[in-house]
Each structure stands twice: as structure tokens, then as C-alpha cells.
């Protein structure tokens, strides 16, 4: 055997200390082994390349592509929301959003990133977990509307050595009007939630999509939303873009033109400032909603990004329920505003005629129970016109008792009460029109005739939404055509009304009473009077305590009566019907000026825009008669949030 470690075979000749020792063959065997080792080393290296370049080339090619190609979402701006004249109500503004690419995300970076962006670390972790089942290359937005400081943080830390997972994208963020202007009507957008994704309405969206959550934003989300695009770019090691591979442009959402009139909306908003309640103005001829206000309101701008949980809790716990859109969701007893409908029903059913009189002594007994009139001293002898004008309860008790609940229900339903109006807004409430059938269906009980008495004056189980009331009265005003209220301005919008077979003569008689309410001495709605304009209307003061359905919910709170007023004008050819609900307003009298403000500004504007047509009708208008210290004059534009001039992010430093 060859001995690797010693050279016994030439042990004899050892010329000491000679650089010229010639026995070079002594290591021949070892050199041969050395050559084999070298071959082994080269095979070892080649096998490494074989493994990477031939066996697993595909995987590494993909990795190289992922390295160099970055897909960045191009967020489609939502369509603008415009008023009927094309004025902007809701706009977008440019901001930067931060997206986190999870391909090279290091969990230990999250704390620092959260700190730099003023995010809650736990929220961020929860958010990432929610996206766990989306593919890793799909980036997720973790912060919207970066401030200048946060932008600086991102720009200085997104290099490959620090936090390469951060990526900035340009985003158009919703800009809602100030001071909760038209908040409920517009609604707001937000990121689609886990629960929503499981519902039919939202199933077509993806995790992370920003969709309309309420109001118009939700109703017409498909029109407003647009389609996001994508940009594929080649990036280098520093995340710097080298060139563009492909681009799929975002398709912006379409703008929506609403039936809302910014001027009217502004007047209604101002009138309701600091109050609880709702105002809605319709064009009864078409069903177009000219203004709708619900108070208290929330600031939709707080929802436009990701709302903090604490803020959301605060809103939900508010006893005044700012999230409730009172125009379509408050189901309240209409009180005396129901009386014109009662009068019409009585005439139509032939229960009474306009000359039928009732003696009011401040109350009357029915079925062994005494029902009071609101006027303690009584109204004396009351006919239909006077009963409407002075809102005599005893008269309507008597008429209602004669007519019976099912006749009342029939006409209430004809006017659209007890069912959704079909307005293009989500979550509309139906209200309740009690009837014998209703009683049996819901309570398995017989209707007691005594219950009819309360319903006759708009109390009892009867509940309506302000919108339903506006539609019902508007229908009477236009001679028995109840148009479906709607918000999307569409000139081709066809007649969608319920045409009741109503005798116009009877309608004229009811309207005559409503004219007297506003314009004649002793009328309950004198404060809605506008000199030179034939305003008709009806007050209503609805007790909450007498309303069995509301007793439970309102328990423990000071329950003041709700004030209602419904008015329309002009008497002959009504163009606008307005309902004001002033919760806790005590008397309909107080709601009347709100209605008058809106009606007056409607005709003021008509006078400005087409003076010829109106000059004869409307000689002169005085100042608004809200009965409150007039607010500093504000144009509707004052509510509309202006797009910041510089980069959106910079003007929003405060936090």
C-alpha cells in the first residue's frame, strides 16, 4: 500500500539543505491523488450549478421575475357626487397611501413601521392577519392619507437595507362636505368588511376594496366605484423604477348627478343646526328629493379612511343616534300632520261631507274613555276646514270612529304609508299603518274600536318616516299622484307614482283647510306664512308616551313631544313639499319656520333664475323667518370641502 504520509522509498538519499534536491518523483502518487481531489472539487461545484440551473431553474427564474417586476395598484378615483345644477358635493383629493408588500416583510420591522406611521401596532398585526389568505404578492394598504412627516419617514426608510416592504401609491381619497352637510344622504365609503364580503351585495368585491357603506355611496357604489388598474414596473435593488412593462389604466368611477339642490340643502342644514330631527323637501310632481337633512349627524370624513375603533364606539353609544338617517329611518307618530289624510279619507269614503260639524268642548268620550283635544277650552263648532285649520282632535276622533280603522288604513296605504317609498337609499324603514289585519297578523288579537280614536289623530300604533309623510302630503297636493321619491337626477325618469282614484273636489277641500292653517287667523301654522306665496301646510305635535311602540325605546329619557310641520307651495300648482321633524320641539308651530325657510329659498332661487315667470306671483320676500337669531350668511359652497391646494397630505399635518 502506498503510504500517504511518509516517503519511505527514498529515505536513503537525503541531500541535506539543498534547494536542488532532484527527487521530484517522490510525491508522484500524492500528486495523482491531488488530481482526483481536484476533479472531485470541480464535480462538486458543477453539481451545484446543475442543481440550480438545470433542475430548479424555473423556481429561480420566477424568483428573479418577482425581484424585478413589481405590480402596483392604480386606484380608480370614485365618481364625484354633484347636485342638480352640477355643483360638486363630494369630490376626491390626491393623497398618498402606504402599501406593504408581504413578499419581503419582516415581522420585526412592523413595530418600527407602525411607530413611524402613527399606527397602532396591534391593529396592524390584526390587519395583516386578515389578509393572510390573499396571495403574498398582492400588496395591502396599511395607511391612507400620509402626512408630510409620514411621507418623509417612508421616503427615508424604504431602501432595501431598512424597510423595503414599504411602498407608496397615489390614491384619491373622498372629500366630504364640512359640518356633516348632507352626511346621511351621501353616506360614506370604507373598506369592505369581512362580514360584508359574505353577503350577496358585496360578494363581487375583494378584501381591501373601498366601497360605499351608507347612503348614496352605497346605493350607487357600482357607478361611483370604477375599476382599479395596475402598473407593472421593473425595479432595481433599491426599489427604483427602471422601466414600465405594462399598464392597465384605472377606469374612474362615473359622476352622479343628484336631485338635491345645494342651496335648499344648505338652508335646511342651517335651520336644523343644533337640533334633533329631520327635514326633507320633495318636488311632488316628480318625486325628486331637493333636500334632506337628518340631525344629529356624523362627520363622514372620519369614515373616509379607516375609522378608529374608539371613535366608532363613541358614535354608536351616542344616545342621540347620529348614525340614524331620520328622514328614512325614524318611525314616529305623525300626530296631527296625519289629519289632512284623515280628512281626505273621510270625504272619499263619504263618511262626512265638508259641512259636517262636530261640537268640540275640549274633549270627548269614546268607548268609555275620555279623549282630550289639545285645545283645553275646545274649538266650539268645527267643520272640516276649521278642523284642519285649528287641528281639532275631537272632530277627527269623531270622523275616525265613524269611518273605521280599515278605511283609514286603506287611504294611508294609498298615500304610501306603511311601506317603503322605494327611495334609492339603503335601509329605508317601512313605518306602521295599523289595521284589523295588521293587528291579527302581528298580535293575534282583534282590533278594538277604541284604538281607532288615537290613530285618527296620528297617534297610536301609526308610525311614519318624514319621507313617507312628505310623499303622502305631496301626493294630495298634486291631486292624488304619489310619486316615488328618488335622488338620482334623471330627466327621463318616468312617472312612477301611485295614482289613487281620488276626487279632485275632495282634494281641493282638504287643501283649502291646509291653506287656512298657514294663512288665516287662528291657523296653527301661521309661522310658515310667506307673504305673497300660497303656502299650505299642517302642524303636528306627536306624543311619544302615547305611542306604545316607542314607549320601550324611549324609556328613561325626558320625553318631549315631537314637532312636525308639513307644507307645500304654491297651492294651485305645487312644486315643493317640505316636511320638518323637530324632535322634542314640543309643538308643530316650531317646526313651521323651518319648512317656510326651505320653501322660501326655493322660490327665491326661482325668482333669481327665471324672474319673468314668477314676478307676478311673488312680489317681494322678507327675511327668513326662522324665529331664531339668523346664522351668519353662508352660501352652500361654504359647506363643500375645498381640495387642498398643495399636496393633500401636507395641509393635514395636525393630529
Amino acid at each position: 500500500m502506498f503510504n500517504l504520509f511518509s516517503n519511505k522509498h527514498n529515505a536513503e538519499d537525503l541531500p541535506a539543505s539543498s534547494l536542488l534536491r532532484g527527487d521530484t518523483k517522490f510525491a508522484a502518487g500524492k500528486i495523482a491523488i491531488y488530481q482526483y481531489v481536484a476533479v472531485g472539487i470541480f464535480l462538486f461545484l458543477v453539481s451545484g450549478f446543475w442543481n440550480l440551473q438545470v433542475q430548479n431553474s424555473e423556481g429561480y427564474s420566477e424568483a428573479a421575475e418577482r425581484n424585478r417586476i413589481k405590480s402596483l395598484p392604480l386606484l380608480a378615483p370614485r365618481g364625484k357626487i354633484l347636485d342638480r345644477d352640477g355643483r360638486v358635493i363630494v369630490d376626491n383629493h390626491s393623497t398618498f397611501s402606504l402599501i406593504l408588500s408581504r413578499e419581503n416583510l419582516k415581522p420585526e420591522h412592523l413595530q418600527a413601521i407602525a411607530d413611524g406611521l402613527h399606527l397602532n401596532y396591534d391593529d396592524l398585526v390584526v390587519r395583516l392577519r386578515r389578509f393572510a389568505n390573499r396571495p403574498a404578492y398582492a400588496p395591502i394598504i396599511i395607511k391612507e392619507e400620509l402626512t408630510a412627516g409620514e411621507l418623509a419617514f417612508v421616503e427615508s426608510h424604504r431602501d432595501p437595507e431598512t424597510f423595503p416592504e414599504m411602498e407608496l401609491i397615489h390614491a384619491q381619497r373622498r372629500l366630504y362636505p364640512k359640518d356633516s352637510f348632507a352626511a346621511h344622504l351621501i353616506g360614506y365609503v370604507g373598506e369592505v368588511s369581512e362580514n360584508e364580503l359574505n353577503t350577496a351585495e358585496f360578494v363581487k368585491y375583494d378584501q381591501g376594496d373601498v366601497v360605499g357603506k351608507q347612503g348614496i355611496e352605497r346605493q350607487y357604489n357600482d357607478i361611483l366605484m370604477g375599476v382599479d388598474g395596475q402598473r407593472q414596473v421593473v425595479v432595481d435593488n433599491h426599489g427604483k423604477e427602471r422601466n414600465l412593462i405594462g399598464i392597465k389604466e384605472a377606469v374612474p368611477g362615473k359622476s352622479l348627478k343628484l336631485t338635491i339642490d345645494l342651496d335648499l340643502q344648505a338652508v335646511a342644514e342651517l335651520a336644523m343646526e343644533g337640533r334633533r330631527g329631520a327635514v326633507v323637501a320633495l318636488d311632488p310632481r316628480t318625486g325628486e328629493v331637493l333636500a334632506m337633512v337628518s340631525r344629529p349627524a356624523y362627520d363622514p370624513n372620519r369614515f373616509a379612511g379607516r375609522i378608529r375603533t374608539a371613535d366608532w364606539q363613541e358614535i354608536l353609544k351616542n344616545p342621540d343616534k347620529p348614525m340614524l338617517d331620520r328622514v328614512i329611518q325614524a318611525q314616529l307618530a305623525p300626530g296631527s300632520t296625519f289629519k289632512p289624510l284623515m280628512a281626505l279619507a273621510a270625504l272619499e269614503t263619504g263618511t262626512v261631507d265638508e259641512n259636517f260639524t262636530v261640537r268640540c268642548n275640549g274633549g270627548a268620550s269614546f268607548y268609555g274613555r275620555y279623549f282630550r283635544c289639545w285645545q283645553k277650552g275646545g274649538h266650539g263648532t268645527v267643520n272640516l276646514r276649521k278642523a284642519i285649520m285649528q287641528s281639532c282632535d275631537v272632530y277627527f276622533y269623531t270622523v275616525g270612529n265613524k269611518m273605521g280603522i280599515d278605511n283609514i288604513a286603506k287611504f294611508a296605504e294609498m298615500a304610501g304609508l306603511g311601506e317603503k317609498t322605494g327611495i334609492d337609499l339603503p335601509h329605508e324603514a317601512e313605518g306602521v299603518v295599523p289595521s284589523t289585519k295588521w293587528k291579527i297578523r302581528n298580535f293575534r288579537q282583534k282590533w278594538y274600536a277604541g284604538e281607532t280614536i288615537s290613530v285618527s289623530i296620528g297617534q297610536g300604533a301609526l308610525t311614519v318616516t318624514p319621507l313617507q309623510l312628505a310623499r303622502a302630503i305631496g301626493g294630495i297636493a298634486t291631486g292624488g299622484v304619489w310619486q316615488r321619491p328618488h335622488l338620482l337626477l334623471d330627466p327621463s325618469h318616468g312617472d312612477s307614482g301611485n295614482r289613487g282614484a281620488v276626487n279632485l273636489d275632495n282634494i281641493v277641500k282638504v287643501i283649502d283647510g291646509m291653506y287656512a292653517v298657514v294663512n288665516e287667523g287662528g291657523g296653527t301654522g301661521m309661522r310658515a306664512r310667506i307673504p305673497g306665496l300660497d303656502v299650505c301646510g299642517k302642524t303636528g305635535t306627536a306624543q311619544l308616551a302615547s305611542n306604545d311602540l316607542l314607549k320601550g325605546t324611549a324609556a328613561g329619557r325626558v320625553m318631549k313631544d315631537n314637532a312636525w310641520f308639513v307644507g307645500f307651495a304654491p297651492r294651485q300648482t305645487p312644486e315643493i313639499v317640505v316636511v320638518a321633524l323637530f324632535e322634542g320641539g314640543e309643538h308643530g308651530n316650531l317646526a313651521a319656520p323651518i319648512v317656510a325657510d326651505v320653501i322660501k329659498s326655493y322660490f327665491d332661487k326661482r325668482l333669481r333664475t327665471s324672474p319673468q315667470q314668477l314676478l307676478t306671483q311673488l312680489p317681494m320676500f322678507g327675511p327668513l323667518n326662522t324665529g331664531r337669531t339668523p346664522a351668519p350668511p353662508r352660501t352652500p359652497e361654504a359647506f363643500i370641502t375645498k381640495i387642498p391646494m398643495a399636496a393633500g397630505a401636507q395641509s393635514q399635518e395636525e393630529e
Binding site: F5, A27, F49, Y60
Partner: protein, 363 residues
């Protein structure tokens, strides 16, 4: 003594292979840097190669026996210069390896010390009085090689320091060593390794742990290995073509013209290119071994084998690193990596080999 020398007698196959590799290196340096701040590196490399050839010719013409006679003087000079590096050296990337030589140039002393180590080992082994090494010899040569190694490690430059070891090892093995000694050496080495761990710099430790599991640190040390493997793998069978490698061109690959040049080459030339170049290296080394086998004396044989082993070690560690089979040490790939000192040093080594070759005709 001069009659036997002629240009015709140079090892032309060796030179041809070496120049082929160098040319591919220049091409790759150009491809990897033409859009970067190092875009001048390719023509600088050509100048270094030319200078290397010149130095090679000079070294070829000084009889290696003369060189061996002066080896202790050279050794002393090396130690002095290595110490001088600490005092006047230029610090780059946190390590002091270079001394300025004027004209904006600087030289990496440790590269040239390699030559001294090769000559030192050759002389020491040739002068052995007995057939195999005893403890005294081992300690002596170990100390002689260990001192410059320690100085280079302190720069700190573990990679280059380690390249001195295989030269020593191959010298010892060729000279002969009792197997008992070898066993004891093995045990001692095994025992000192954990102790030595504590003397490593943090980044050196990181390199070793990352070598074992690159995914653990995908953005730090592991990043280089992962990106290098991606580049190599993405090259596939035929490569992406010159200046077409995305990993190289978009700078995902760290230092694609120096330490990771073979990674860049693999991406752009594929497995076929890799086999060709590794084949060239193999030819180069075997040609050197052939020169060792035909050397006129033991000293010449030791010199050739020292050169060969040093180059083999460089190829193994550098190319192994590129495919993730060796830890990241930052030693250049001979003849290909951009860099003046290492190119000069390799051509000087080839000069030594030719030197030995030319002297064989006397005997």
C-alpha cells in the same frame, strides 16, 4: 545560465487558458457594470492584466532558486508591510487592507504575501533534513505561516488569511507527515474551533450562521447568498445573454463584478457557460500540476503545487459561495474578479510556475 530560456519555452497552453479566463472576466465586468458607477472597471482590468503579464515575465526571468534564497528577507518585508498597513493603510468597508502606492492606486498587501508564503513553504519543505516532519518542524512552519495569517485576520480579512492555510497544508502533506501527527492535529483543530469562534468578528460569525441557513437573514448576509442563487438559477441552461441578466443589471446581485462575478456570469451565460469556464479553470490547474510533475527539483514542485492549491482554494470557496455551498468570505475568483492586487498576484504566481518550467530543461 541564460541559454536555455526562450519565449518559445513558456507554458503557452497555461497562458492561453489564463488569458481566456481573463478575457471572459473583462467581458463580464463590462456587462455587470456598464450602467453603474464602476463602469470604468473593465478597461482598468485590462490594464491590470497587461501589468500582470509584464510582472509575470519579470518573475519568470529571475531563477526561482534566487527567489528562494531571498525568501526570509521577503518574509521579513511582508511582516513589516502588514504591520505598516495598520498604521498607514486605507480603510474600506470597515477593514484596513490596502496601502496607497501613489497615483491614486493602492495595493492589498495580503495578496502579495501569498507569493511569499508559497516560496516560504517550498523552501522550508525542501530543506527538511528528514523524510517527514516532526513536531519541531510543524511548530516552526506553523508559526511562520501563522504570524502573517494572524496579521491579515486582524485587518480583518478572514478570507484572505484562510487562503494561506491550504498552501501550508499541501506542503506538509506532500513532504510527508506521520499519520499519528495528523490525527493529533485533527483533534487539536477540532478542540480549538469552538474557542476560535469567540475570536471571530460578529460579521464573520454571521456569515457562518447564514451559510448554514440563508433564509434566516434574507436581507443581511443571507440576502447575498439568496440573490446569488436566484441569479445562478435564473440563468438556466443557456443563460440570459450578455447585459441581459436582470439580477445583475438591476443590482440585486451584490458586487457583481468582484466577489460575485461568477454569479453574474452564470446568470448571463447559463449552465453551458459555467461548464466551459470551470473546464478552463480545471485545465489551468492541471497544467500547473503537470508543471509540478515535471519540475526539475523538489523546490519547483512545491512552488507549483502551492500555486495550484491556492488557486484551487480560491475557485472552490468563491464558486462554492456563489451556489450557496460555501460561506460568504469575500475572496476573489482568480483572473475573473475585478481588482488590481489580485490580478497582479495571480499573474505573479503564473510567473513562478513558468519560472519552474523554464528551469527544467537544465536537468
Amino acid at each position: 545560465m541564460t541559454g536555455y530560456r526562450s519565449i518559445r519555452d513558456l507554458d503557452w497552453p497555461l497562458l492561453l487558458v489564463a488569458l481566456s479566463i481573463s478575457a471572459l472576466g473583462v467581458l463580464q465586468i463590462y456587462s455587470a457594470t456598464h450602467e453603474t458607477i464602476w463602469k470604468d472597471a473593465w478597461w482598468k482590468q485590462i490594464i491590470w492584466i497587461a501589468a500582470g503579464l509584464l510582472l509575470m515575465w519579470v518573475v519568470t526571468n529571475i531563477d526561482y532558486h534566487t527567489l528562494l534564497g531571498q525568501v526570509y528577507l521577503m518574509y521579513g518585508l511582508s511582516i513589516v508591510t502588514l504591520i505598516a498597513v495598520f498604521l498607514i493603510g486605507t480603510k474600506v468597508f470597515g477593514s484596513r487592507r490596502w496601502i496607497p502606492v501613489g497615483g491614486g492606486f493602492r495595493l492589498q498587501v495580503s495578496e502579495f504575501v501569498k507569493l511569499v508564503i508559497i516560496l516560504l513553504v517550498a523552501r522550508f519543505m525542501t530543506e527538511l533534513k528528514r523524510d517527514d516532519l516532526d513536531w519541531r518542524d510543524l511548530l516552526k512552519i506553523g508559526g511562520l505561516v501563522g504570524l502573517p495569517m494572524l496579521l491579515v485576520m486582524k485587518q480583518p480579512d478572514l478570507g484572505t488569511a484562510l487562503t494561506y492555510l491550504p498552501v501550508l497544508a499541501v506542503g506538509i502533506l506532500l513532504a510527508g507527515l506521520r499519520w499519528q501527527y495528523l490525527a493529533v492535529l485533527g483533534v487539536v483543530l477540532a478542540l480549538t474551533l469552538p474557542v476560535g469562534w469567540h475570536f471571530l468578528q460578529d460579521y464573520q460569525k454571521a456569515r457562518l450562521t447564514t451559510f448554514i441557513d440563508p433564509a434566516k437573514d434574507p436581507r443581511g448576509q443571507g440576502y447575498q447568498v439568496i440573490q446569488s442563487k436566484i441569479a445562478v438559477g435564473a440563468g438556466g441552461m443557456w443563460g440570459k445573454g450578455v447585459t441581459r441578466g436582470t439580477q445583475t443589471q438591476l443590482q440585486f446581485l451584490p458586487v457583481p463584478h468582484t466577489d460575485f462575478i461568477f454569479s453574474a456570469f452564470s446568470e448571463e451565460h447559463g449552465f453551458v457557460g459555467v461548464v466551459v469556464v470551470l473546464g478552463l479553470y480545471f485545465l489551468l490547474l492541471m497544467q500547473i500540476v503537470q508543471n509540478a510533475q515535471t519540475a526539475p527539483d523538489r523546490a519547483g514542485m512545491y512552488i507549483c503545487m502551492g500555486v495550484c492549491t491556492l488557486l484551487l482554494f480560491h475557485v472552490l470557496v468563491n464558486v462554492g459561495m456563489v451556489v450557496g455551498r460555501m460561506p460568504v468570505t469575500g475572496i476573489p475568483l482568480p483572473l475573473m474578479s475585478a481588482g488590481g492586487s489580485h490580478i497582479l498576484s495571480v499573474f505573479l504566481m503564473l510567473g513562478l510556475v513558468n519560472n519552474v518550467r523554464l528551469r527544467r530543461f537544465v536537468n
